[in-house]
């Protein structure tokens, strides 16, 4: 068991922000926690799952997760929902109105902003949601603060009957730092749901009287923020610049300008404007350092104070010491020496699909078929846009592939007339928000070929479970969704639902070719598990017999990272044309024996050394 689960009161631990949130949620008496995996927030629920006295679950998407938490709160239980920043967009429909109705049991929404886009499609500042949805925002700067603020957030939520946003960033979620664990779990009994239609049935007539209540709550929270000990002023001897900051940027400022006065806002919305005014009076220049949007800066300026911020600091990305130092030195008119050594020029190392990845087969097929517009989605298969496949043309948001593909079909331009529209989506993304797009496409008589890549995991975030995997967050058996039955129920004709082993490349290519020629929607479902999960069976590695390899390069086109170019030769054909031959080799440490590359090799140059009968069997995964 994880060390922090067994942690004794008053003991010190090296915890990530996500682990600290989980521990604090347990101590705070949380009874229900729900999330959909998403970097950098995924580990919050994975760690909460270690505490048996919390009902924790992977919900199918973030809106569902928040609604599960809302239901628990109305029953009187403390509840938590966790998500990455883009998950807030999905969840917003639920919390925007629940904020109006209010809560009973403490309700905390933990959102992790991927500042710097380490693993996201965009960069968003989730603090906006606090302003938009009239909810207080707490911002920890490190693991210790994350731990403390979770508890404060629940108390605040119950005292003011409001959902509370705990805004984390990658540099809090994934940084390990010292945390002193206070004590044991304090149970908070749930009183049970108290029926009160005027309060909980948000019809216009019931919602309208809640508006002044919510605005009054905003005022009370602003008063509270003015005196909250989560907003701390640090005095400093060098008063030329005073910093107002929140989140991990605080740590970077203390590191870079240890003698400067700092007003650190842990309770950053509603902002304590009077306290800010007092602080501003004591410094020559007020600089707001916030990741990422100029929210506090704009509010402070609107309050009539002179303030610097995004005019001297970047609008995006992390405000690390290496960013702050030159900007502030320039403001002060001081010289700044950059690091003398220039970075070495080294090739890029973009993320790749894995050896035996079941997405390799579909992308091999897509890259060999012409006249396709391939509309993609969020997951490992987004990498299909890269080398060597170049077989994915769009990616924006969870589930968008099917609906966008339908729109592209209906909005066909003249040059697209002979093209087939393909949507590529994974199992978990399909269940998150994709199936509505398929339903819509069928209902509106669309014509898209859907590749539903079922690898039985949420692959990109580390192989989490979903309703299609047959297991839950705790690894316990769960009812397993049947994708073929589901898409049939949504209206795809049974003849157009094609199950395929993605390792059988000729079949894969043939199927995609056939289905893209059909004048109706079809769904091709693959059935091999993610090769990084326990469901994948490792077999003996293959090798290339050099004498037999003809240098055709077909296996290289697969894009398997276990296959590399051994050597190149330029030969001149009888016609006089020169041609480059590419001879392959297989890294036996990386190869997992999936057999896919063998399918590309006409001269049978790829073999398993001394194969056993067991190794030769291609295991087809039964789907349901």
């Amino acid at each position: 068991m994880n060390a922090v689960v067994q942690a004794q009161a008053e003991s010190r631990h090296l915890l990530s922000g996500n682990e600290a949130v989980a521990r604090a949620a347990w101590e705070a008496g949380v009874r229900v926690a729900a999330a959909y995996p998403g970097t950098p927030a995924t580990e919050i629920l994975e760690n909460i799952a270690l505490y048996p006295d919390i009902h924790s679950e992977w919900s199918v998407n973030e809106k569902v997760a928040v609604e599960v938490a809302i239901g628990a709160s109305l029953a009187g239980s403390r509840a938590l929902a966790a998500m990455k920043h883009v998950g807030m967009n999905v969840a917003s429909d639920a919390f925007m109105t629940q904020s109006l109705a209010g809560v009973v049991g403490g309700l905390v929404i933990v959102v992790a902003d991927d500042v710097g886009l380490s693993s996201s499609q965009n960069e968003q500042d989730s603090r906006y949601w606090g302003r938009f949805g009239h909810m207080p925002v707490l911002e920890p700067a490190d693991s210790q603060e994350a731990y403390e603020m979770v508890k404060r957030a629940f108390a605040l939520s119950e005292a003011y009957e409001t959902p509370v946003i705990l805004r984390m960033t990658t540099r809090v979620c994934h940084v390990k730092a010292m945390v002193t664990v206070e004590g044991d779990r304090i149970e908070h009994r749930a009183a049970g749901f108290q029926k009160n239609p005027q309060r909980w049935v948000m019809t216009p007539a019931n919602a309208k009287p809640r508006l002044p209540v919510m605005h009054e709550r905003d005022q009370q929270l602003r008063t509270l923020s003015e005196t909250s000990d989560l907003n701390i002023a640090f005095s400093g001897s060098d008063r030329r610049v005073g910093f107002i900051t929140s989140g991990p940027a605080f740590m970077h400022i203390r590191e870079t300008f240890p003698n400067a006065p700092v007003l650190k806002l842990g309770f950053s919305h509603p902002a304590p404007l009077d306290q800010i005014r007092t602080f501003a009076a004591e410094v020559d220049t007020l600089v707001v350092v916030e990741e990422t949007e100029p929210l506090l800066e704009t509010e402070i300026r609107a309050a009539g104070l002179a303030v610097r911020g995004k005019d001297i600091l970047p609008r995006f990305g992390e405000l690390a010491p290496s960013v702050l130092r030159p900007a502030i030195k320039a403001l002060l008119g001081e010289p700044y020496e950059v690091a003398t050594r220039a970075p070495s020029k080294v090739f890029p190392r973009p993320p790749t699909m894995c050896a035996s990845c079941p997405h390799l087969g579909p992308y091999f097929a897509l890259s060999h078929i012409r006249n396709l517009n391939i509309i993609g989605d969020i997951g490992c298969y987004t990498l299909g846009a890269g080398h060597p496949w170049n077989a994915l043309d769009t990616c924006i948001s969870m589930g968008a592939s099917l609906s966008m593909a339908h729109g592209m079909d209906k909005g066909r331009g003249e040059s697209d007339e002979k093209k087939s529209i393909v949507a590529v989506i994974g199992d978990s993304t399909f269940l998150h928000m994709g199936m509505q797009g398929l339903l819509n496409m069928i209902y509106n008589r669309g014509n898209v070929t859907v590749l539903l890549l079922d690898n039985r995991s949420v692959g990109m975030t580390g192989g989490q479970e979903n309703p299609g995997t047959g297991q839950d967050l705790h690894g316990l058996p769960a009812p397993r969704l049947d994708f073929a039955k589901l898409v049939e129920a949504l209206g795809v004709r049974p003849e157009r639902i094609r199950m395929v082993d993605p390792y059988q490349l000729p079949v894969m290519v043939k199927l995609v070719r056939e289905e893209t020629k059909m004048e109706e929607p079809s769904v091709i479902i693959t059935n091999r598990p993610c090769s990084l999960t326990d469901r994948f069976e490792h077999l003996k590695p293959y090798t290339v017999i050099d004498d037999k390899c003809t240098g055709c390069g077909n296996c290289i086109d697969l894009g398997c990272p276990a296959i590399s170019v051994a050597r190149r030769e330029t030969v001149t054909a009888k016609s006089g044309k020169s041609k480059e031959l590419v001879f392959a080799s297989i890294d036996s440490n990386a190869c997992t024996g999936c057999h896919m590359c063998v399918e590309t090799c006409a001269p049978d140059a790829i073999i398993q050394p001394q194969p056993t009968i067991k190794d030769r069997v291609i295991r087809i995964q039964p789907h349901a």
Binding site: T39, M251, H252, T340, P561
Partner: protein, 202 residues
């Protein structure tokens, strides 16, 4: 950077054990009473991408990030990655490099070149570079996963606490969770410590 803070950058490729090595250094520093922060950007690194893990420890550590030019020690699990991150090292810093070469698909298909003499380039900077084949040592000891412990052994004499403290922490960890591997890891640590003396010259 603050007085008395040690900055260690551990770099390599997803799946090589970079984060595990960094975690071991962080936990050992913690056991010595230091304030510790450790950070890395994970996420897509799992898919063969670049991994860098920052470990900072001292009387008090604020920012978890090491600035370019501020690392005291660089542990490189792969030679081109060591070159990529070298500018993070101080002029007085020490680089401990595994000479393993892993070419990504973009190199193997010919879009980019792998540096011809990365060790030479490292050494030519004038920084103290130690380089050796940790994989070969691991193979002699019968387990490729020992590279991690070998690299930690190699850096152990450059830490602000005794090398044996790190060794004991590693070996005790194995004794508690995977006792069969305790002895071989002790050997791997010592072998790395020996190999870490090999200085690279340009």
């Amino acid at each position: 950077m603050l007085e008395g803070v040690t900055n260690i950058l551990v770099v390599g490729i997803g799946g090589q054990g970079v984060m595990t090595a960094a975690e071991m250094l962080a936990r050992t520093a913690l056991s010595q009473g230091y304030d510790v922060k450790k950070t890395e950007v994970a996420g897509m690194a799992q898919r063969g991408g670049v991994v860098s893990s920052h470990v900072r420890f001292g009387p008090k550590v604020y920012s978890p990030q090491i600035d370019p030019g501020e690392a005291d020690l660089l542990i490189g699990f792969e030679v081109a990655e060591s070159l990529r991150w070298l500018s993070y090292l101080r002029p007085t810093g020490v680089a401990m490099v595994n000479t393993l070469r892993i070419a990504p698909p973009v190199v193997s298909v010919g879009l980019y070149d792998y540096p011809a003499d990365p060790i030479g380039e490292l050494a030519a900077t004038g920084i103290e570079v130690h380089a050796f084949d940790a994989g070969a040592i691991a193979e002699q000891l019968g387990n490729l996963k020992l590279v991690n412990t070998i690299m930690l052994g190699a850096i152990s004499e450059h830490l602000p606490f005794p090398a044996d403290v790190l060794k004991t922490n590693i070996v005790d960890g194995f004794r508690a969770y995977k006792p069969k591997l305790a002895d071989v890891n002790a050997k791997a640590f010592d072998a790395g410590r020996e190999a870490g003396h090999i200085k690279a010259v340009s």
